[in-house]
């Protein structure tokens, strides 16, 4: 009923979807798997109308369509259950269910609440959720909210002629096992009314629930397999498989680290609900990669090391000194630099110039009694611009006007010029094109040669393997397995994946 033919989607500098063929039949559950950045979420967004494809055809029962927005897609029977929930928590359950479609309960602009509550009860029955529709959404548990979200999507049944397609984006990532079972049973039951697209990092679940599985890699569908008698290993190999070019990750410039100079040490570090029992060491010149699926706790670990989060258990030592007060200010003072994943939000101040962004973390070095020493600051900025070959008209150009790669360089030089020796990189190459990625890899190597230690949450496993000396594999907030890169037994992506999921 829903069919994609050679669908393309291009963003500036990135071809996110390359000729995707994709099909969902009536009452079918289709799995969708792939690494981070393989194009799964872009594909989902095209399906539910958040993005518009710019090549190929999207067909519903053979008729080509273009969804200009999610509402358009909804009117064609396509609904999305979001991973990051889209319910407005200060509204009641029923208001959320019928958000944007209240007109059916209105007379002369006045809402008939009783009628809406009745209708909401009908919807909640479909997902077997027994809550009062007048309940404020924030009072519900996470699982209950997920079900309300599903109920909201199922209202399409009454509104739309024809069949439904429901997208489930990582619905299980935060649910306990028992509730996952309930959700799966529900989905199986509902297939008489709708087809499902199921996206998950957990391979066993995808195989358990889906009829067919699409495997994506680098914006392409590399394989479609029947879940009956399919092989987890084979799918995983298809997800990652590619010859790794050694030069791409500057492996020739990878030097051994200094065994005795420990920059960061954690002992049984833990934070409730995020990670636990994390013991790791980072030495000068080392690249330590933390890998794991989305939400496995790696981000929390580096945020704690920087001081943005306060761990609830264990100890943290920076340069041999125990850390007692956790704050970003103390982190910066101990020589930690944090490069977060959302550059626009946490990496650069868009309205400020290159030089201003660069010196944000260490203004005390350029000022006496809070007054800038003229020249020193600008001179240093000039040096870094040429050292990292940042492409900018002048150092007074607004950072917001720079390309993603150059913004990333500004952020890196901010920390380098602040004298940071412990560099925390959270997906430093996300959204960058190949050339800019290589620049970032170069910078990582240079930092190591300068005696910095780097903790990396890599965008792909390939990147982690290419860059890191040491790799810690995380699952559900705990370190599952350590790998040493460059030893006798060079691990491959499949080895890592095995411990991740």
């Amino acid at each position: 009923m829903l069919e994609f033919k050679k669908v393309e989607k291009t963003f500036p500098g990135v071809r996110a979807l390359k000729g995707i063929d994709f099909e969902i039949k009536r009452g079918e559950i289709v799995g969708l798997v792939g690494e981070n950045g393989a194009g799964k979420s872009t594909l989902m967004k095209v399906i539910y109308g958040a993005y518009q494809h710019d090549g190929g055809e999207v067909l519903i029962n053979g008729t080509p369509v273009v969804f200009r927005n999610p509402r358009d897609a909804m009117e064609n029977g396509i609904g999305m259950v979001f991973q990051e929930q889209s319910l407005i928590t200060n509204l009641t359950v029923m208001e959320n269910i019928f958000l944007g479609f209240e007109a059916q309960f209105m007379k002369f602009g006045i809402i008939n609440w009783r009628k809406m509550a009745q209708a909401a009860c009908e919807q909640l029955k479909k997902v077997k959720l027994d809550v009062d529709p007048y309940t404020t959404t924030s009072e519900l548990s996470f699982t209950q909210r997920q079900l309300v979200e599903l109920a909201k999507v199922l209202t399409l049944e009454e509104r739309v002629e024809g069949d439904l397609v429901i997208l489930l984006d990582e619905p299980t990532s935060v649910l306990p096992r028992k509730e996952i079972e309930l959700l799966f049973d529900l989905v199986r039951e509902l297939r008489s009314r709708a087809s499902f697209v199921f996206v998950s990092h957990r391979m066993d679940e995808v195989i358990e629930l889906s009829d067919r599985i699409y495997v994506m890699k680098d914006g392409e569908v590399v394989d479609v397999v029947d879940s009956d008698g399919c092989d987890v290993d084979a799918i995983q190999h298809k997800m990652v498989g590619r010859e790794i070019d050694k030069r791409y990750y500057r492996e020739d410039k990878k030097h051994p680290y200094q065994q005795n100079k420990v920059l960061v040490e954690t002992r049984n570090l833990g934070k409730e609900g995020e990670f636990s029992d994390v013991s790791l060491k980072l030495r000068a010149g080392e690249v330590l990669a933390l890998v794991g699926t989305e939400g496995c706790g790696t981000e929390g670990v580096i945020r704690s090391i920087f001081g943005l989060d306060k761990p609830t258990a264990g100890e943290l030592y920076l340069n041999g000194e125990p850390v007692r007060a956790f704050s970003a200010f103390n982190g910066v003072r101990s020589g930690v630099g944090y490069i977060p994943r959302e550059r626009k939000i946490e990496g650069i101040v868009g309205g400020m110039s290159v030089v201003e962004n660069m010196t944000l973390a260490n203004m005390q070095d350029y000022s006496t009694w809070g007054v800038f020493k003229s020249g020193v600051e600008r001179e240093l900025a000039e040096q870094w611009v040429s050292k990292l070959s940042i492409k900018t008209a002048t150092i007074d150009t607004h950072c917001g006007n720079l390309s993603g790669g150059n913004q990333q360089k500004v952020v890196l030089s901010k920390w380098r010029s602040a004298g940071a020796k412990i560099i925390l990189l959270d997906h430093p190459t996300r959204g960058l094109d190949i050339g800019a990625k290589e620049d970032v890899y170069d910078m990582v190597r240079e930092m190591c040669d300068d005696g910095c230690g780097v903790i990396l949450i890599a965008d792909t496993l390939e990147e982690a393997l290419g860059l890191a000396h040491t790799i810690a594999v995380f699952k559900d907030g705990e370190i599952q397995k350590w790998f040493e890169s460059g030893g006798d037994h060079q691990p491959d992506q499949y080895d890592l994946l095995h411990y991740m999921i």
Partner: protein
């Protein structure tokens, strides 16, 4: 590309262009506008609003708002007059009243910032409350009567003229330069822009956001005190209504000058232009002979118009 550039150019220089056009229009209608006397009158009447507007500029750059200026102004003005009365003459210790007033301004701003940051109450509400409390305190201090501040030496600020302009115009200009220095050359100024442009990021870069916020409110308080001083020198006496009307004028000026209410963009020179625009319009309306009640209405329309022109609607999706 050039279209984008010219639009940016326009948005950036629009306030200055508006100022010049206004001057031309008013002088065509009434040539008296272009006399030194009138310019001196303009500058004198701008001195106090400029100080208030500069103070609140720092706060607005940070993305917050301060509505306490009317109260702070009244309180500082009253304490200035009261302290001055305690001494025989301004030259003999009476001048101490000025630093005392400034210290009061700083202290009130400090409390303002402290409550805002520590109790996490929106700056809008804290400052509004503080402002009203200050008016109440002023009433208590003055007993509800007008306090005279007619010391000759103090009023030299108004009466002593160089090149036709009163002394206070020069003092105000010096204060503007000081403000520009703080904005451009100090870590505090840079931090204000960083917080306005991306508070999360500033925090993640090790900026002590809370401290900067408190200092900014204290700094604003100092400028409000200077504004009070000019206003008192101009009038020659103080009552608890000294600040009435200044909140609207100062915030209007900041916005008309092109400082973004969202924070991160703008500065004290823009504020100067904004103050002058408002002053020229008021002055022009008098010269043209418009009744006072219409003048206020015109200013109200003006502030909405200015924001409408200056807002980059593409960049903003939600407005609250």
């Amino acid at each position: 590309m050039s279209k984008v550039l010219s639009k940016e150019f326009l948005q950036r220089w629009a306030p200055l262009i508006v100022l010049f056009s206004l001057c031309i229009i008013v002088s065509i209608i009434n040539p008296n506008f272009l006399s030194v006397r009138n310019f001196a009158r303009l500058a004198t009447s701008s001195a106090a609003p400029l100080m208030l507007a500069i103070g609140v500029t720092f706060i607005i750059i940070m993305g917050s708002i301060d509505l306490s200026m009317e109260g702070v102004m009244a309180f500082c003005g009253a304490s200035l007059a009261v302290v001055m009365l305690q001494f025989n003459s301004f030259v003999e210790w009476g001048f101490l009243a000025i630093p005392v007033a400034i210290v009061f301004g700083v202290a009130i701003g400090f409390v303002n910032g402290l409550i805002h940051v520590k109790l996490k109450i929106p700056s809008f509400l804290v400052s509004l409350g503080i402002g009203f409390s200050c008016i109440g305190l002023t009433m208590v201090m003055t007993g509800g009567v007008r306090v005279s501040a007619s010391d000759k030496a103090f009023r030299l600020l108004l009466t002593e003229r160089f090149f036709g302009f009163p002394l206070m115009v020069y003092v105000a200009f010096a204060a503007l330069l000081l403000a520009y220095f703080i904005q451009k050359k100090t870590a505090l100024g840079r931090n204000l822009y960083a917080i306005g442009g991306g508070e999360e990021l500033a925090h993640a870069s090790g900026v002590k956001v809370e401290r900067v916020r408190i200092i900014a409110f204290a700094l604003a308080g100092a400028f409000y005190a200077l504004g009070a001083m000019f206003a008192v020198a101009q009038i020659g006496s103080v009552a608890s209504n000294l600040g009435t009307g200044f909140m609207f004028v100062s915030i209007t000026s900041v916005v008309v000058g092109g400082t973004a209410l969202m924070g991160g963009i703008g500065g004290v020179w823009q504020t100067l232009v904004g103050v002058l625009i408002v002053a020229v319009i008021s002055n022009g309306m008098v010269l043209v002979g418009l009744p006072t009640y219409i003048q206020e209405g015109v200013l109200g329309v003006l502030v909405i118009l200015a924001v409408a022109l200056a807002t980059n609607r593409k960049a903003i999706q939600l407005v609250k």
